[in-house]
């Protein structure tokens, strides 16, 4: 099995970007963007997560099979979130209470 050797420079740069993004999160939290508060915070968080997975967890150089399994983890989390929201977002769609009357 061959192992790709990642130069230290890459790790340091990714680390710097992560710190910068953390600083951005803190900075943005001081400004009220209305509806975009949540969107901005989540976007930064997702970028950071992707950087960690790709570089620190070496998924970028991994085999297609490893990528598939890493993707499956996210797909399964999406199942959890989407189907749970399918309950929360649809409460009250069907006015069952009035059918009884």
């Amino acid at each position: 099995m061959t192992r790709h050797i990642v130069p230290v420079r890459t790790y340091v740069s990714v680390y710097a970007v992560l710190i910068a993004l953390t600083a951005t999160t803190v900075a943005v939290s001081r400004i009220d963007l209305g509806e975009f508060n949540f969107i901005v915070a989540m976007t930064i968080a997702v970028i950071k997560a992707v950087l960690v997975i790709m570089f620190f967890m070496h998924v970028r150089e991994a085999s297609a099979l490893t990528k598939l399994f890493a993707g499956a983890g996210f797909f399964w989390m999406a199942i959890l979130i989407v189907f749970t929201l399918s309950d929360y977002l649809s409460r009250g769609w069907l006015p069952l209470g009035q059918w009884w009357r």
């Binding site: 959890l80 189907f83 309950d87 929360y88 409460r91």
Partner: protein
């Protein structure tokens, strides 16, 4: 002068059992077969503890006013559920038979990560100690489902300690699953292609996917439960802004697929038993193989059927109801394919096959009553009644435990190198079948008539059915004790087993001695035929895409 005649002493060939007898050779072993035995003995112990709680429950329910107090009864059913689900059913077939057989079945010397395999057993034991500690230091009374807000706010029993036990044991399950996935991907013998894998291996692959993808969610849910209890974090407790239904969503996201963690390995055992004792190849190999994967995937889309009356939206209830019907399809494919395998087969009625017959009948009843419960309107009537109890015991005990016992008998000669007494074994299988049905069939009737689950007392008109159920439980108990006795006897005194007593197909029978040596095979096996090739016919040639037939034969 006297002469002492000594029997010539014949040394048994070295195998994984006689290679070393010291306690260190067991507690520090990395041999998958020895770890399987560590699991065998520990889950048997947990089965007996969980069974003892069930005995106490059935004694209580023999009379309408009960024997124990309501609080004690709450603890009895909670501890029964927690120990049986998390410390017996989830690890049972994967950790014992899966650990023992998967490397041998695919022609490997061990699992991919032998030390992680041993670690998983230690983690399981630590989790078990937490749960037992809680059980014997006053117990816990939330039900095995830990529903909020009772568990987070009101219960004054050992909720966190028990949840810790389940949390810790979950990691054991994840590590076992991870080990199986990597082993099956990376360590198959030359010629052991995916479509030649025994269906036992396919079933465990599907199980392992659920273990790895689902278990982290229950782990974090139990952490949130503890945070809510200690710090009042406001996640599940409505008094501080939380939502108790969120707990049910998170809990069942794991716990419904966990039902398939419990039954899929049993289905894998079934495919081995049915083919061997029908002397026929499996009917529709790829359908049976991929139905395991389909169950593993679709099983994650149905959890909301546990929340039909919990306050979930009507829309979500409808979606989850329809999806629950869909998950019945792959299970039905398996049942039909086993039946079709037996059709015109040369069936013999050895003990493992008796358990296989029991499995098919009882699992079918358990599965079909699941469809009744997945129907929303009926579920409103049947929620939290004994109908539910009967349904999942038909799947878990009638299905999984039957398959487990069938598998233990089938591979007993391979595991121990000894044969068990066939007559006693058949008798025990019959006792288990009769005892099981007498215990749980009356519970369908009780539930339909309105007897709620988790009640320590009941109106007198239910007494006849409850007494029948308790009587059945005592027969079932005898049915479990008999194999314990004769298998323990046979392990030491039973006649020596040949390598392949059932004349079965598969590397574990054809290539590995009974019991196998530490590294399973003397020479690396090379696989040249499909699984279950009982007819001896050559494999059907299916040209791969873009490949010329002429080239393959060149």
């Amino acid at each position: 002068m006297s002469t002492i005649f000594e029997q010539p002493r014949v040394e048994a060939p070295a195998n994984y059992l006689n290679v070393d007898y010291g306690w260190k050779s067991w507690l520090f072993t990395t041999d998958h077969k020895r770890i399987a035995l560590l699991y065998l003995f520990s889950i048997t112990a947990f089965f007996m503890v969980g069974g003892a709680f069930a005995v106490a429950m059935r004694i209580n329910l023999a009379s309408p006013r009960g024997v124990f107090s309501a609080d004690t009864y709450n603890k009895l059913f909670t501890m029964h559920g927690i120990i049986m689900v998390f410390f017996f059913l989830v690890p049972s077939i994967p950790a014992v038979l899966g650990n023992f057989l998967i490397p041998i079945m695919i022609g490997a010397r061990d699992l991919a990560f032998p030390r992680i395999n041993l670690l998983s057993w230690y983690i399981y034991i630590v989790g078990g100690i937490f749960a037992l500690w809680a059980a014997f230091d006053g117990g816990v009374d939330t039900g095995w489902t830990f529903y909020a807000p009772y568990s987070t706010t009101y219960s004054n029993t050992h909720v966190i300690l028990t949840a810790m036990g389940v949390f810790v044991a979950g990691f054991s399950s994840i590590l076992t699953g991870l080990n199986f996935i990597v082993t099956i991907h990376k360590m198959r013998a030359p010629g052991m292609t995916w479509m030649r894998l025994p269906l036992f291996v396919w079933a465990h692959y599907a199980t392992a996917l659920i273990q790895v993808l689902g278990t982290p969610v229950i782990a974090i849910t139990l952490v949130l439960l503890a945070l809510e209890r200690i710090l009042h974090a406001g996640i599940f407790d409505p008094a501080v802004g939380g939502d108790p239904i969120l707990f049910q969503h998170l809990f069942w996201f794991y716990s419904h697929p966990a039902v398939y963690i419990m039954i899929l390995p049993g289905m894998g055992v079934m495919s081995e038993l049915v083919t061997c004792f029908s002397r026929k190849g499996i009917f529709g190999y790829s359908f049976v193989a991929f139905s395991s994967i389909a169950i593993a995937v679709v099983g994650f889309f149905v959890w909301g059927h546990h929340l039909f009356v919990a306050g979930q939206s009507m829309y979500a209830g409808t979606v989850f109801s329809l999806l629950s019907f869909i998950v019945a399809v792959p299970s039905a494919i398996k049942v039909f394919n086993w039946t079709a395998t037996m059709y015109r087969g040369s069936i013999s009625f050895d003990t493992p096959m008796l358990y296989a017959f029991g499995f098919i009948g009882l699992f079918t009843i358990g599965g079909l009553t699941g469809l009744i419960l997945a129907t929303m309107a009926l579920d409103v009537h049947l929620t939290d009644t004994y109908f539910v109890i009967a349904h999942f015991h038909y799947v878990m005990v009638g299905g999984m435990v039957m398959a487990y016992l069938g598998g233990i008998h089938f591979w007993f000669p391979k595991i121990t190198g000894r044969m068990y007494p066939e007559l006693w074994a058949k008798f025990a299988a019959l006792v288990v079948f009769v005892g099981f049905n007498l215990t749980f069939f009356p519970q369908f009737l009780l539930g339909y008539l309105g007897m709620p689950r988790r009640y320590y007392s009941y109106p007198e008109e239910f007494q006849v059915l409850h007494v029948m159920s308790s009587a059945g439980a005592s027969i079932l108990g005898v049915g479990y004790v008999i194999p314990l006795i004769y298998l323990a006897w046979a392990w030491r005194k039973g006649p020596r087993a040949p390598q392949n007593p059932w004349d079965a197909k598969g590397l574990e029978w054809e290539k590995a001695p009974s019991p196998p040596p530490t590294f399973n095979f003397d020479t690396l096996p090379i696989v040249t035929e499909p699984a279950y090739n009982y007819s001896g016919e050559p494999e059907k040639e299916e040209p791969l895409a873009g490949e010329q037939r002429g080239d393959r034969h060149a």
